[in-house]
């Protein structure tokens, strides 16, 4: 059993805006690219040009179709999925070696790969499917919130954010400190009704998802009224009325 910190100074995490995520997968490969050469073991790929390629990804995007019961228009919701850096992270408490831990300074859930024995218990314990065992390195891989970017003094200050946030073309991903009520992520969560994923599980995820705005509700303002009865007054009547507007 590994202990969670009683308190973290910061609660770093992501806000993902489901209203603007177009499902383009940019965050998926930016994450793969950075973390393939970043913290810990590379993210390997097995049989990449073969019949059944598979590899380690720390962030994946799924598309869901929603068909309202009331017969409304069907909708597609694109849903990026990665570690939520839970406050009560079951993946940490289940770890037999202490390899899986939550950092006390910022709340990032990390794997100390030197101590990881690849038993896979944490992946079983995570209800969100956010961890992947690397088949080559045989260690557990997961989102690090780009811990090797966000404090990295070799990067320009504006680049000290997770690779997925930096690359997101629609700006649907935001990074920040949820412990700071004035941070962008806290404000977005307040303003847009950000929600944790499956809160009933009691894991207290830090990340928040902004729900899609209501769709397919054309404003119910009045429709355009014809200038006049064209049938009765003819094209000439329409032209007179229309062009009279210029004067």
């Amino acid at each position: 059993m590994t202990c969670l910190p009683a308190h973290t100074d910061k609660k770093l995490g992501l806000v993902v805006d489901l209203d603007t995520c177009v499902g383009c997968q940019a965050c998926v490969t930016a994450c793969k690219g950075w973390n393939d050469q970043g913290y810990g073991a590379a993210l390997s790929d097995q049989d990449p040009y073969g019949a059944d390629p598979s590899g380690t990804f720390l962030n994946r995007v799924h598309s869901y179709q929603v068909t309202p019961h009331d017969g409304g228009t069907a909708k597609i919701v694109n849903f990026p999925r990665s570690c939520l850096h839970c406050e009560d992270a079951p993946c940490v408490t289940v770890c037999p070696t202490g390899a899986s831990y939550k950092r006390s300074e910022d709340g990032i859930v990390l794997v100390n790969e030197d101590a990881c024995i690849g038993c896979g218990l944490c992946a079983w314990a995570c209800p969100y499917g956010a961890r992947e065992m690397d088949a080559e390195a045989q260690v557990m891989k997961k989102c690090t919130l780009c811990v090797d970017r966000i404090y990295n003094e070799n990067l320009p200050e504006e680049d000290r954010e997770p690779a997925c946030v930096r690359t997101c073309p629609t700006g649907a991903r935001h990074f920040g400190d949820f412990a700071d009520p004035d941070s962008t992520v806290s404000k977005l969560t307040r303003d847009r009704g950000g929600v944790p994923l499956m809160p009933q599980l009691g894991t207290k995820p830090v990340n928040r998802y902004l729900p899609p705005r209501p769709k397919d509700r054309p404003e119910e303002a009045s429709l355009l009224a014809p200038l006049l009865d064209i049938k009765a007054q003819g094209l000439a009547g329409w032209l007179d009325r229309m062009l009279g507007k210029l004067d």
């Binding site: 930016a30 990449p48 040009y49 919701v77 062009l243």
Partner: protein, 924 residues
Amino acid sequence: MGQPKIDTSPKVSDEIRKTTCYMCACRCGINVHLTSGKVSYIEGNRDHPVNKGVLCAKGASGIMQVTAPSRLQTPLRRVGPRGSGAFEPISWDEALDLAVSWMKPLRETAPEKLAFFTGRDQSQSLTGWWAQAYGTPNYAAHGGFCSVNMAAAGIYTIGGAFWEFGQPDWKHTNLFVLFGVAEDHDSNPIKIGIGKLKARGGKVIGINPIRTGYNAVADDWYGITPGTDGLLILSLIHCLMEAGKIDLDYLSRWTNAPLLVNGAEGPEKGLILKNAESQPFVIDRRTGMPAPWDGQGVEPDLGAVWQGHRTVFQHMAERYLSDDYKPEAIADQVGIPAARIRGLAAELSRAAFDQAFTLPIKWTDFRGDTHDHMVGRPVSFHAMRGISAHSNGFQTARALHLLQIVLGAVEVPGGYRLKPPYPKPVEAHPTPHFVTAPGKPLSGPHLGYVRGPENLALKEDGTPWRIDKAFTWENPFSAHGMMHMVIPNAHAGDPYRIDTLFLYMANMAWNSSMNTTKVMEMLTDKGPDGEYVIPRIIYSDAYASEMVAYADLILPDTTYLERHDCISLLDRPISEPDAAGDSIRWPVVEADRDVRGFQSVLLDLGARLGLPGMVNPDGSAKFKDYADYIVNHQRRPGVGPLIGWRGDGSKTGRGEPNPDQLARYIENGGFHQAHVPEEASYMKPWNAAYQDWAVATSFYETPQPYLFNIWSEPMRRFQLAAEGQGFIQPPDHLRERLKVAMDPLPLWYPAYGDEGAAEFPVHALTQRPMDMYHSWGSQNAWLRQIRGKNFLYLPTKIWTAEGFVDGDYARVTSPHGEITVPVAHMAALNADTVWTWNAIGKRKGAWALDDGASEAKEGFLLNHLISELLPERGDGRRWSNSDPVTGQAAWFDLRVRIERVGPQAKAQPQFDTLPRVVPKGEGR
């Protein structure tokens, strides 16, 4: 156990080199990180005008493309039967000598027998210039099967088009309406724009049979029936006109709505009425008398009738106020209830007129009138292949521009803005050039904008000059050529036989051809003499695509990180509405194989052939390589491929070549921008400050102000010919079709694919995902894990009626062919439409993939269902499956029927495994 200490500031890389992406056509700026001389990470360049730091899934996966096992390694010469894959490696000298031994005699005797067509070519100003110097009329890039309807309809109407040639005024627009967009096109800029608009609380409306991607995040979605967009648009115009919600001031000042249409019977009927000086004129509201169209202070009268001639505006009113365009009359056809159509018209009106605003920008128009502000109309549109890849696509794209125009929303704050060198009127474009003479260059560029029948590429006997039959009565405005007709026509010897087919980066033996199975046969077919019907094929590509096996000579290209390129203002630049921009690629890593950048090879071939412009007086090569050309070539004195840092480095646009130019580009992150002055930022076609800036920046030699062409005179000239006027006459069998298709005022007619489609009730579409570019993505170790398989998506209506269950396959039958493919259910889809992702399906053996790859086993193409010719219509003739105006391939006219066949092991048809020209890929 304590928390481990970790290094949170690791060194990122040894070096960053900034160049231009080529994982698709967007041309984003990228930072390529190098560690120990190898590419270690790729991210977006924050300073770059196109992507502003962001990067898509493809861009970040470029690192896997540079090492892809599918990369060709060395020049190859065919030694066995064509298509057998029997090649031998040869040296570059041997390869180039062989090519010259084929090309040189042709140039000296019959240059048209070389057909040079390029696919995803970003160097058309070079490849076109080369073909012009060679002297063959047979050159074009891939626009004919891509989106020429979109490009040409834009040029003929507003002097610029959608996609990279313009964009919404993202800063001010409140309502953004997308029609049928391909999700990979201009993809990062549109994604950035949608994100910004939504963050401001603006609204996105998607009009598309399929609700994925941008349409998934659209606040409102209209699942239109394919091919009916034009009808919907004209109905919206009907609603707006009926309610008087159109911008009269804009129409009267900036469009040809107040010009008079000649109403007198005879050869001038329907042309714009001209005065004794051959100038169009308007009736001045102040005097009721004729006045110059560009006269200072003139107030053009939209409603004028003069000596029996009526204004364009009167013709518009007559056509669009007709009951034919009432929402109630068209709702069933477009698949959208009338009330929703009326609601959409009201939303457009609300944004354009109720939310109108002004910007305090003082400006002077071309008439000399000054204005102390600009009126903003915060509604903007974007459209792409979804509306243009139909046989009514040109008229539909014109209709969409007309909709923007009546709202007064083009080139105004909040509306659609063009990017330099656009706007540019038809008159500023060349006409097509095609007359050949042995040993001589063509007198001008191949591709251009036809003004009337006299510009058609027809010989005196009425036969086409060009192998693709571009610029003929069958498709007069084929401004991008018709690459999809080259192989079928060359095989048929219609209009004539060719000798050497020279292709660059175009997968014509697979996903870039209609009727793929038949095209593969055409490529290997032999005549009675035992020779190949298409005698010689030279192909250049960087990767082992399906096309490679069908070449006789392969010229292996580099990857995009190993080469020089220029994204030029002479071609398709990276401008923004507020700045002209161009950019370069440069070898950020050295190629580790015996490959050469195609453009350098082309210049080498040109020198060996002694082509004008490519050799010095002593016969030696004028350019060492493409980089040398980029810097030193001058198209006109002082105007070259790049506008930045010319002369001594201080000149922009015009200036003598600067040997230091590429170094300056590299220093600046690979691009250059020339900013539009603030007073010139909107109203560009009419804004004197913009016109002057455009001349100074080298886009044209004199100011070119113009009016938007609601009424198209070039189109009317073809209609007149079809009516029997003039000496140059169309063949009789095309008269009726020309009368409709060349209507000078936008209209809608049913797509040709709908004809005789009673047994094929379902529309079938393809679209490209945001994470794959054509066929390129499947060779990428990361991207193919994201999308290694495609399904045919079926709407609920078909899914339920046919009793489909997960895991099923369907037999899909079109008038032309049959395929059997895996299916999936999708509710967010037009009820009569099925669709799939384009070009995921691969042929076994291609792209260095395993024979059992899902792309080859379950992946599939719809191309097998689409013929390049329409079914015979009873008169013994078969029309090309193309738009009758431009010749754009009508991919999306496809009609099918669907039958459930239960689970299957693989998709059909399957083909023999392509012989491998590179070994199957193993590890990364």
